[in-house]
Symmetry: D2
Subunit: 305 residues, 4 copies
């Protein structure tokens, strides 16, 4: 998120706007934790994980009274447009804020799960994938040294993007995701055959949303007779210094967001689709369901059976 | 390169072909260092830097006598198509080989400089960029702690892609590349102004091909009165475990190469352009010059003056 | 483990011995998976995690019949001394083997938990600590960005060394280990006070053996009213390229082991105590209990209450 | 350095002292950039490379007038003791300051070169070694893939500690340091022999102070007929997040420094010798010459000939 904030502020200034940052998200809007951007505040943040501005959920923002207070905070400072980096929750909150007070905004999609409709990419995904990769590569060393089976659970409640991409990138033998029905019997047969040909270890990657982490691990022990272990990667996936891809994408998303606001657009989420930046209205995004690239699903089908 | 080799072999096998690997490149073709692919040979290589097959330049391949020998090696094993991972040199060598003996081939572009005409991406570039990023982020720590100026020289003889992308991703203040004329006086003025506003350190990134590493460093000391140092990143940029992006791209390039050969194409280099995979003939590539994305150049112009 | 194997083989050769490697541990002894060391076999392994030789537990080794078979395998090859890298289980197995057949051995302690009596250091610990550090640093980014509490569970069944050292190295606020009685009420009070002074996030590190991961997380949510999450680092801790410290220690342990065998010692485990290498007999180790440095415990006491 | 600063401040507070930090070193003493320590100032710095306080050389400090000014700054704030993290230059400056105004100080040795007399360890060395290790491991991938020779130059003007330790830890074939006379003819013979036995690549590590980087590279090309390249690691070695070993050592050095000051010691540098913390007077350090562990030298002698 830091590269997006820095890029948006710098590009907005270059386009003649006067950028501010809001600390702690919606809560900061209400509390008035809003600061004009100075060089020092955004210096040295490009390579830091997390967000130096802080992020928070705010139930109070559902209350018109506090949204009114947030609007006053903006008005006092002469702030007329907003950029928000986040997911559906943040976008909907600002959509309501626009309905109330007419403050235009542009959304930059940033969720680790890569599950926002209308865009192929959400900020943070490449960084998360490379954290997962390093963990899985490292677990592979252990698995092959000790002839073990490992199940690794990645984030992804409704969307298997992280799990599928990691499975391809690390050469996992099994991958279970919400998008693909799995067949354990068929997996067992495939594994027995590979074991007969010399395979001595096994890596399975499971998206959190499938809820199969523990039972797949147990099943590998029982059905395949292997010493099997589960690793839940958890919040390690969320951190780490942003990769180059994420920083460059953050820059491009930020430029598109500033340009959209200057062009008079509002209530739009910046999207990256088939290699091109564009935008979708909040309503389009709300009405449609995020769908993972069917090619990716096709490639992973043979890891689910 | 390892992910490309593994993906190509596995996908070719799935498509009903019988894959072989050639060790040590053209030299291995001549010497007959050619092995049928077994699971074990390509197991556990996805995460390794460099290439487990080895790479070499071979002057003998310019001699028809040795190309004839290479052809016999293929014929004996019933090998009828080739995939080569590399740059212009490798592609031209196989083009000649095709002219001599009619063995079709497909090329997968892989150069750190990202300088092959017709494709936006060459394998290895994302990995190199992230190695550079970590070095520059780390040097930034030193620069800001000690109030110093640092010049960092990246690879890139004729192409400033690595330097420009790294400069954007790490927030460098100065960037010199072959594609953009630079103006040191104007840079000096910009830096003096930033120093007056509190800037206490300075990062400059220079592509090797500009040949300005040492003189820019000296100039920063002289014109700006800063304690300035040069770091030439050198071959550290070539190594490291492939990033997820590189592994997935390797997979896609490999699939496209196998598909192209099965479709009867020959003498073509697989390309990735505007988000889509395609291919160019060797002649098209030889005739055209690689051009960096003009948007990237535009973004870096203000770092060159 | 790889640096230990390579160092031992090279140093033994230099001392005029003829080194062999046994693949897959005790199982390899029984099966005769024993190979004379060639340069190629141990080349390029220093930087690889896990062990290229493979490791296994073997129940058959408890049976004198299979130990007899193992002894024949050694005899045939003229192998008269053994070095084993591992923990108590491996040492005891070879101790029995010595009682049976009089084959002297030296043990090199290598357990992630750092829990072998008589030595301050077991190979692999520094590497594991740095893997933990990177995960905790990364989780701290998330914790401070989102105002959350995180509990991180490290390995360590009976020994809190990893958890205590990580807690000190990453500045965790809470640390629970088997060696120190904890007081949740007192921790809660300390945290409430810090929150009153501006603390907005919280990191707790718990050794696996305390069994408090889930309940501490729940308690942080309940008692402190924070959004709290648990991360179980699991087998990620076991992998990764060995650190410099581990490689140098592996070298020194290996040299000490070869020297001990050449000096006619047997049934001894090489130890590193108060900065000096020495050795203990298996019986001494079996009779004593591993004790963590009392200074380390004292430093962590105030993180447990 | 950050872990040392944080540890010293926290431990001093625990011992009933009131800690301050001085920004930008000696210059900050003169300018009065001195701040009472608050939790926020030193929060989240343990994992950051460089120093958040800033460091600087100050010629003015040689002038009694400015030292007088520095003394007034301390007096005004009631500061009566100093801890300095650095090398001989900083220690001597504070020694003079003590001679002038009687302000006691304790020095914590922190130089990448590990070249301060009287101590086996200087802060930052383990972090630097692991940065070097990752670079060399990565270059090894390239070297073995392309059959090349690489010379890697590490820091170390008068002291070969970094180069020797890295050479052992990465398995380099050649190592040149100021402490050991080298014999290129004998190296050439050794390499020719290894090439005859299948060696296809070569890594040499050279300490900066030997001044042989470029000529060794050329010589490898000429005498051994290999494609040889030089990489000067440069300031990449200075950065990076501190390793666990460095953080724990920083903590222990800081505790020893605070304890020494409380015990009434002055003008002493904290040392770590043969596994034990102690201290040396500035004069002892000035009079003696730093000597690298003779065992380390003995181990590297066969890499120099």
């Amino acid at each position: 998120m830091n590269p997006a904030v820095k890029s948006a502020a710098e590009y907005a200034a270059k386009r003649g706007m006067k950028p501010y940052v809001v600390e702690w998200g919606l809560r900061g809007l209400i509390e008035g934790w809003i600061h004009e951007v100075t060089g020092e505040r955004l210096s040295g943040i490009l390579h830091r994980g997390g967000t130096v501005l802080g992020s928070s959920r705010s139930k109070r923002f559902f209350d018109i009274k506090f949204r009114e207070q947030a609007f006053q905070n903006l008005k006092e400072r002469g702030i007329s447009k907003l950029i928000v980096v986040g997911g559906d929750g943040s976008f909907n909150a600002l959509n309501q804020f626009y309905a109330d007070f007419g403050v235009p905004f542009a959304g930059i999609p940033a969720t680790i799960d890569n599950d926002i409709a209308g865009t192929d990419y959400c900020l943070g995904v490449d960084t998360a994938l490379n954290v997962i990769r390093q963990s899985v590569d490292s677990i592979r060393d252990t698995a092959s040294s000790f002839s073990r089976a490992f199940v690794i659970e990645t984030m992804g409640r409704h969307c298997g993007y992280l799990a599928m991409t990691s499975a391809l990138a690390t050469g996992a033998e099994v991958c279970l995701v919400p998008e693909i029905p799995y067949d354990l019997d068929s997996i067992a047969e495939r594994m027995r055959e590979e074991k007969a040909h010399g395979r001595n270890y096994l890596l399975g990657i499971v998206a959190e949303g499938v809820g199969m982490g523990e039972s797949l691990t147990r099943w590998m022990g029982d059905a395949l007779g292997m010493d099997a272990r589960l690793t839940v990667l958890g919040h390690v996936q969320r951190g780490g210094s942003p990769t180059v891809y994420d920083r460059i994408m953050a820059f491009k998303f930020a430029v598109a967001a500033v340009d959209a606001l200057q062009a008079g657009d509002t209530n739009r989420v910046i999207t990256f689709k088939d290699g091109t930046f564009g935008s979708s209205s909040i309503n389009e995004i709300a009405d449609s369901k995020h769908a993972v690239d069917p090619n990716l699903i096709r490639l992973c089908e043979n890891l689910s059976r």
